[in-house]
């Protein structure tokens, strides 16, 4: 599991670097982008 920090650009929360295209799931949790990869336990999303 990796994280990518967020910043605010023109009043929009935006990742500071490009989000990966080969992850299993990406979640913005209100603070940062959490990158779930193979082998990571995925969160339950309701």
């Amino acid at each position: 599991m990796k994280t990518i920090a967020a910043t605010v650009i023109n009043e929009v929360v935006t990742p500071v670097s490009e989000l990966p295209t080969n992850a299993k799931l990406i979640v913005f949790n209100g603070t940062e982008y959490v990158i779930y990869e193979d082998g990571d336990e995925l969160p339950v999303i309701e």
Partner: protein, 180 residues
């Protein structure tokens, strides 16, 4: 029999020749699902067919904030749309099924071309598009709103989400971007 056609040279979109002889065909290897063909018109390289430019492979979920948040960014290469091209976007979402609003925006070149608000839905799919009006700098969207986005330069297509209640979740489950 030789399978490879030696008359069609391969380039990336960025390094294609600056000269586009009329009738000359090239293969652009890094645009489209397995490359794409372009034909010179004497001035520039023009797509010969529609292109599936992007297809989301990783779901992107948003929760924990009421701020507008970027969920996806896709670059549309400079001049790929051409004068009569249309960027067509299909978006599929899963959402917390309650009365709180969840707002999705599709932006191109910093301009909002679609805004969709959902309540009381667990799934939502929508289409939107941006059509060049025989000009690379004049468009209308699927709601007939006019835009003046310069498509001769690369533009990001950005999808943002915004929750009325930070405890809810909205998830991008599918996105298809076609340049038609």
């Amino acid at each position: 029999m030789e399978l490879l056609n030696p008359l069609i040279s391969e380039y990336t979109w960025a390094n294609k020749p600056s000269v586009a002889p009329s009738g000359q065909i090239i293969c652009v290897t890094n645009v489209g699902e397995n490359g794409s063909l372009c034909r010179g018109n004497g001035t520039k390289w023009v797509r010969m067919h529609q292109i599936n430019l992007y297809n989301l492979a990783t779901p992107v979920a948003l929760t924990g904030t009421t701020s507008e948040t970027t969920m996806l960014t896709v670059s549309i290469p400079a001049s790929l749309m051409n004068k009569r091209g249309r960027a067509s976007v299909f978006v599929l979402l899963s959402l917390t099924n309650n009365a709180n609003a969840k707002t999705i925006k599709v932006k191109v070149g910093g301009q909002t071309v679609a805004t969709v608000t959902s309540t009381n839905q667990s799934l939502l799919g929508f289409n939107t598009w941006l059509l060049n009006l025989n000009s690379e700098t004049a468009q209308r969207n699927s709601s007939a709103v006019s835009f003046t986005i310069d498509t001769t330069i690369a533009n990001d297509l950005v999808i943002t989400g915004q929750l009325a209640n930070a405890g809810d979740t909205v998830t991008l489950t599918a996105v298809s971007l076609e340049i038609i």
